[in-house]
């Protein structure tokens, strides 16, 4: 039976967000946020964020999710999972940050200069092509895209690494890469988003 899919682009970003988040195991816990700020104070990078992690949920509740998606907040999450393990309401905030990153990309909220988004996209492209990631092409492309001058600044370290045999230039390509690529493309055409809610009876 083919799955009936709502066209995601027809829905508001908040609706898509909630639908996706509720599909993560225990995702509905986001409703139980008590705005205590444990996440913000546990976060090693929150001081540099436009909005603290707590304010992400406050914004959601106020119907201001878009300001979060435009902000640097989500791209500063380093996936340390401190917020997730300490949250007294059991909210998996790190997973929610991933979801916000995906939506920011999908709905075009990302500023051109958002470096973390660029590196993530490059990462995905390379993995999709080869099945594995090699650091040199990733780093190289990243700096060429963002700031070629910074790449020059990297040279001394790169040279040191290269001399020590730590900079292989050619990525390994896995044998199953082609199959995998087809499967993952199909996954997104025919498959439901993990967000599709499990039917409850």
């Amino acid at each position: 039976m083919p799955e009936m899919l709502l066209d995601r682009s027809q829905q508001s970003v908040t609706d898509v967000f909630l639908e996706d988040v509720y599909s993560i195991p225990h995702g509905e816990k986001i409703k139980e946020c008590i705005q205590c700020g444990t996440c913000s104070a546990s976060c090693p990078t929150s001081y540099a964020m436009d909005y603290t992690p707590r304010e992400v949920i406050a914004s959601l509740r106020a119907g201001l999710l878009d300001r979060v998606l435009k902000s640097n907040t989500i791209w500063l999450c380093a996936s340390c999972y401190y917020c997730t393990v300490r949250c007294p309401s059991g909210i998996k905030l790190t997973d929610i940050m991933y979801e916000l990153k995906r939506l920011a990309v999908e709905f075009g909220y990302v500023q051109k200069s958002a470096k973390a988004a660029i590196v993530s996209k490059l990462f995905v492209d390379l993995v999709d092509k080869n099945g594995r990631i090699a650091e040199v092409p990733l780093v190289g492309k990243f700096f060429l895209k963002t700031n070629p001058f910074a790449a020059l600044g990297m040279m001394p370290r790169a040279w040191k690494l290269f001399r020590r045999g730590r900079m292989p230039m050619i990525p390994n390509r896995i044998k199953g890469a082609e199959d995998l690529k087809i499967a993952s493309e199909n996954l997104e055409i025919t498959g439901v988003h993990a967000g599709a809610k499990e039917e409850k009876t």
Binding site: P44, L76, A78, V124, L187
Partner: protein, 298 residues
């Protein structure tokens, strides 16, 4: 001395061990060899779908993970990883597929197209935990050839060995690496930031933020008298080691703390050469340190 039994595991090195962190791979293999842990590299493994990937594509990330798990399932052995980020990603897919039937169906369907299937039986384990729990104190002590003479080590766990799942040890104050270091004759120092974040991938995109985090780690290690920092994560290792110069430049500090994989420290105690362990590939030299500390036990 020989171990009576050989322990067999599938081994997932992860992308970064093929590249900048080859030394981790080398030292891990050398140590496992000595301990009778037989690591069979997973056939045609792919990227685990780690943070940078799942930030863009959720389903595909799970598919990437699941492909590795499916290949591992055929081997009917536990899957050993060394990169904590791979550990978390693979474990997460394992858990979420078990908990969310819809996701399980979707991923299974996609796997089928690559002629694979995954039933959810693979146990993903970190090498550190395998060495401590499967090999144990006696077998490790029996292999020590060099005394580390109370080498003071800051045991640095980073984030994703214990978070979010906490299956290996306490989520914030683990002790498993401290224990292992003690077994090989080193002296773990008090290191209250042992599970604080090193900045991870932010080093590429928000260097200022990440350098600050690395500095906190280096400072705490020095405050507590550590002569080197033991790492278990290739990304932490990279940030602490390759960016130590940048930290010094940025903050006007003068840290010169050698950074070693925990497998390199065990390897040294086991009497392997620095070359075998890939220690010569490091950026912050530790030669002087070990000349002071290593003493062959007769």
């Amino acid at each position: 001395m020989n171990l009576q039994t050989t322990m067999n595991f599938s081994y997932y090195p992860g992308c970064s061990l093929e590249g900048m962190n080859k030394a981790y791979d080398k030292s891990a293999r050398a140590v496992c060899d000595a301990l009778g842990i037989n690591l069979a590299e997973l056939n045609d493994w792919n990227c685990c779908g780690a943070s940078a990937y799942i930030s863009i594509r959720e389903l595909r990330a799970h598919l990437l993970s699941a492909r590795n798990l499916a290949i591992a399932e055929k081997e009917k052995k536990d899957l050993v990883v060394v990169c904590p980020s791979c550990l978390t990603t693979l474990t997460k897919t394992n858990h979420y597929m078990a908990e969310n039937p819809k996701l399980r169906q979707t991923i299974s369907k996609a796997l089928k197209e690559t002629e694979l299937q995954y039933w959810g039986s693979v146990k993903v384990r970190h090498l550190l935990e395998v060495i401590v729990n499967e090999v144990g104190q006696n077998e490790i002590k029996a292999r020590i050839k060099n005394s580390l003479k109370d080498l003071k080590v800051a045991p640095y766990y980073g984030c994703q060995l214990t978070r979010p799942f906490g299956e290996i040890d306490d989520k914030e104050f683990p002790t498993i690496l401290d224990t292992l270091l003690t077994w090989v004759g080193a002296k773990p120092v008090n290191f209250p930031v042992k599970t604080k974040c090193c900045g991870g991938m932010l080093m590429m995109t928000n260097e200022d933020v990440a350098l600050g985090l690395v500095r906190n780690l280096l400072e705490c290690a020095r405050e507590n008298g550590a002569e080197c920092i033991a790492t278990i994560c290739p990304l932490c290792h990279m940030n602490l080691e390759a960016y130590q110069d940048n930290v010094n430049k940025h903050f006007g500090t003068d840290y010169k703390i050698p950074i070693l994989y925990f497998t390199q420290i065990i390897g040294l105690a086991f009497g392997f050469s620095r070359k075998t362990l890939g220690i010569e590939e490091e950026l912050t030299p530790s030669k002087a340190l070990f000349e002071k500390h290593l003493e062959v036990i007769r």
